[in-house]
């Protein structure tokens, strides 16, 4: 089973690389026209394409790239002529800092608020939490990001609005600049998880065994902690996993708004530079993370849920 999932994951990653390659290939212009702009004429353009090997066919270039990527060599960037593995390292770390920060704050907060909202269903607490969650989910990130900058940075002056730290600076130097981007991510993420937790807890409250326990006279809080929460929180593992994967890919907008030197902004910049090798490498990393996190979530759900385990055993 695990092997089959891994195989499927590998195919997904491969498909993503093909789609990205084809997509960037279809955009008008290439690394040379992007770099040379008005100078992109005649000999200068030919020289540049010669240097970067852009005059070879798209298929040759893809096969070349895929071959070395399999050996762990992501190649060199098109215009800076730097090793991509080196460039990506710090960016990945910075994005992970952002994602990790949002997770540490967001997941406990979402679980807590979701459970509270469900237990006090349709009371003012629930209405307030649920409505705020809908707002947090539906307002686009770039709007909430801009609002947070306006309030906390421009009006109140508590934290800096834009991240000015260099990509390869030590992690500590990102504080306090990293707080606002983490805040925005937390907002969106908390809202998503919270709503799943809430409906899942409500569903479990209505289940037979919860009612049975109530009828038996088990104290309310004991029901909540022994019967409801363990069962209700299982489905949320998958949502949390999806959200984590989204954190890595979806930070593109946030990183651009806050000028944060992470993978997302690097991807945007590389697309506008037509720096195909860098774009490919980042897409590959993000796709791999997606696949791995989802796989991990499935395994965790299985370990935590005896029923799924036995089903699998009986089938096997």
């Amino acid at each position: 089973m695990l092997l089959r999932r891994l195989g499927l994951g590998a195919i997904t990653v491969w498909l993503v690389s093909v789609i990205i390659f084809a997509g960037v290939e279809m955009l008008p212009g290439d690394a040379c026209t992007a770099f040379l702009e008005r100078e992109a004429k005649g000999k200068l353009l030919e020289n540049c394409r010669e240097d970067l090997g852009l005059n070879r066919s798209a298929l040759t270039r893809y096969v070349d790239w895929a071959g070395s990527a399999l050996q762990g060599d992501l190649g060199v960037s098109a215009n800076g002529q730097k090793q991509i593995s080196e460039m990506v390292g710090y960016r990945l770390r910075n994005t992970l800092l952002l994602a990790f920060g949002a997770m540490v704050v967001g997941i406990p907060l979402a679980l807590f608020l979701g459970v509270v909202a469900a237990l006090w269903r349709d009371r003012p607490v629930d209405i307030f939490v649920s409505t705020s969650a809908i707002f947090a989910m539906t307002i686009p990130e770039f709007v909430s990001a801009t609002l947070l900058i306006l309030v906390f940075s421009v009006w109140l002056g508590w934290v800096p609005g834009i991240v000015l730290t260099s990509a390869n600076a030590p992690l500590v130097e990102f504080f306090p600049e990293v707080m606002l981007p983490i805040g925005v991510l937390t907002l969106v993420m908390t809202a998503h998880i919270l709503r799943t937790v809430r409906s899942s807890v409500i569903e479990t409250l209505a289940s037979d065994y919860a009612q049975m326990a109530t009828l038996k006279g088990v104290p309310y809080w004991q029901i909540v902690f022994r019967h409801i929460l363990p069962n209700a929180l299982l489905p949320t593992i998958n949502v949390v996993a999806l959200t984590i994967a989204w954190l890595l890919g979806g930070v593109v907008v946030i990183e651009t708004v806050f000028n944060y030197p992470g993978l997302g902004r690097m991807m945007i910049d590389s697309i506008s530079d037509r720096d195909l090798p860098v774009t490919q490498a980042i897409a590959l990393i993000i796709a791999s993370v997606y696949v791995i996190v989802n796989l991990a979530a499935d395994i965790m759900t299985m370990l935590a849920n005896p029923r799924l385990r036995t089903v699998h055993l009986r089938q096997g």
Binding site: R38, N79, L164
Partner: protein
């Protein structure tokens, strides 16, 4: 009592001495236009001019009125027909690495620009220089391939900065020059740190440190300014100006520039090869309305001349909208029912789509039906500009001679409207060899008037640049960055 006064005055004197020392940090952003190809080499395509302009000097620089004034060259003179120029260099200047500046460095720096192998975009600006010779330690001689009376104007080019002899291989990362600031660390996509050069030939600068920060997103740069994380943002929009003007924490400078946006009708294809059609297309534009609608009033009306409003050679012309005149010309040219034109527009320059729509309305009054074709910004310069028949364009300020030659000369590489006019070419070459200023000016004015009669390029206005700064910034010259004396800036 006396001693108290004495102590007080000593303190005041000491305080003023302290003030004279460079102090504080000035922060500014740049847009990382060249991505990871960014460089400190002043003549490379990826040069970050926001840094090179502060760490390196030119031979000649513009004064506050845009006229040539001494930088590393203290005086210059030409022979009778302006084909050989002799420049006297400043003495006692040292580079940031401690080496002495002399004529060999100038020869090296200029020959590097002229070297075809370098592929420098700056090469075309001074292509008329044949040889660069060192006469002695502090004198150089430039021999041109023809007469050129305004050579000092060309030497003001923002890229022509002097670097130490044989520094070509390392200059991209070291940025060694003779400017008021020295590179402490270079990181184009992050923060580049500069420190005051206490040995700067005009005296120590006003601020101790400068930080030049890479922020690609325009909105993020404005946020950074609003939050006080940077002290200056050049080129804010009319809408953003409103936000800054309402606060005591910010100041806004308005600077007339020679930068322009416009529409190109290729003069070598039907129907624009008829000079009457071209003239009609330009007569229908209500330029003042374009300034108001597109630029929020932040521009100066131009009559299809690329020469900026502050340039000493600018021709003063009038060009009101003339719908009836345009109709008559079109009828005469065989288009009594007007004509249809596909105008190609990208959002590469945010004002292009607005400009195109306003023009569409004006043109419609004379029966010209403009169909706006949206094209991608990516690859615009390569696949649309100089390819399609009617396109949008933009240019940054250039001295009159350079603007007219680079864009309209029959043989120019960037002759975007394929304008070929022997009379025009003759006027320009005559102007270059005319040593009398007034006579030369008359010729450049004549060239601009000739363009107004015959060109295929509609230049409705020259953009006024808005520079937003935090209130703590003092003594920032209200001119384009090309001419700003960065050493004078102080921060509170």
């Amino acid at each position: 009592m006396k001693t108290t006064l004495g102590v007080a005055s000593t303190l005041i004197i000491m305080a003023s001495i302290v003030v004279a020392e460079p102090s504080g940090t000035f922060r500014q952003a740049h847009e990382v236009g060249s991505g990871s190809g960014s460089s400190l080499d002043p003549i490379s395509k990826g040069r970050v001019f926001q840094i090179t302009e502060k760490v390196m000097s030119r031979l000649v620089r513009p004064d506050m009125e845009g006229r040539p004034s001494p930088d590393l060259a203290v005086s210059w003179s030409a022979n009778e027909d302006a084909t050989v120029w002799t420049l006297k260099l400043r003495e006692g200047v040292t580079f940031h690495d401690g080496s002495t500046f002399g004529s060999e460095d100038v020869v090296y720096s200029l020959e590097r620009v002229l070297d075809p192998e370098m592929d420098s975009p700056a090469r075309s600006a001074i292509a008329m220089i044949n040889t660069v010779e060192a006469i002695d330690e502090h004198t150089i001689q430039l021999t041109l391939d023809g007469s050129f009376a305004d050579l000092p104007l060309l030497l003001m080019d923002y890229r022509l900065r002097m670097i130490p002899e044989d520094a070509g291989d390392t200059i991209a990362t070291t940025g060694v020059g003779t400017g008021p600031f020295m590179v402490e660390s270079f990181d184009a996509e992050g923060t580049t740190k500069l420190v005051a050069n206490m040995d700067y030939f005009e005296g120590a600068p006003g601020v101790e440190k400068m930080e030049i920060i890479g922020i690609t997103d325009g909105q993020a740069r404005l946020q950074a300014l609003l939050g006080g994380q940077i002290d200056m943002e050049r080129g804010i929009t009319a809408q953003q100006r409103v936000m800054l003007a309402g606060s005591d924490n910010f100041k806004v400078q308005t600077i007339p520039t020679g930068n322009w946006r416009g529409l190109i009708f290729r003069t070598d294809v039907e129907p624009f090869n008829d000079v009457r059609v071209r003239k009609a297309l330009r007569m229908v534009a209500d330029r003042q309305a374009m300034v108001d609608l597109v630029m929020g009033g932040g521009a100066v009306v131009a009559c299809d001349s690329p020469v900026g409003p502050t340039d000493q050679y600018r021709a003063e012309m009038e060009c009101p909208q003339d719908i009836e005149g345009a109709k008559a010309l079109l009828a005469e040219a065989g288009f009594p029912d007007g004509l249809d034109i596909d105008l190609h527009v990208a959002t590469l320059e945010p004002t292009w789509p607005v400009l195109a729509e306003v023009y569409q309305k004006h043109a419609a009054e004379a029966g010209i039906r403009i169909n706006i074709v949206q094209v991608p910004s990516d690859g615009y310069w390569n696949e649309v500009w100089m390819q399609k028949d009617a396109v949008t364009t933009r240019w940054n300020e250039r001295p009159a001679d350079q603007a007219l030659n680079e864009i309209y000369l029959s043989t120019a590489k960037w002759n975007e409207s394929y304008y070929k006019d022997a009379d025009f070419d003759a006027i320009l070459s005559q102007a270059r060899s005319e040593l009398d200023f007034d006579a030369r000016r008359a010729l450049y004015v004549q060239a601009q008037e000739h363009l107004f009669d015959t060109a295929g390029t509609l230049i409705p206005y020259h953009v006024t640049r808005l520079v937003g700064t935090t209130a703590r910034v003092n003594n920032l010259d209200a001119v384009e960055n090309n001419a700003v004396r960065w050493n004078l800036i102080t921060v509170d």
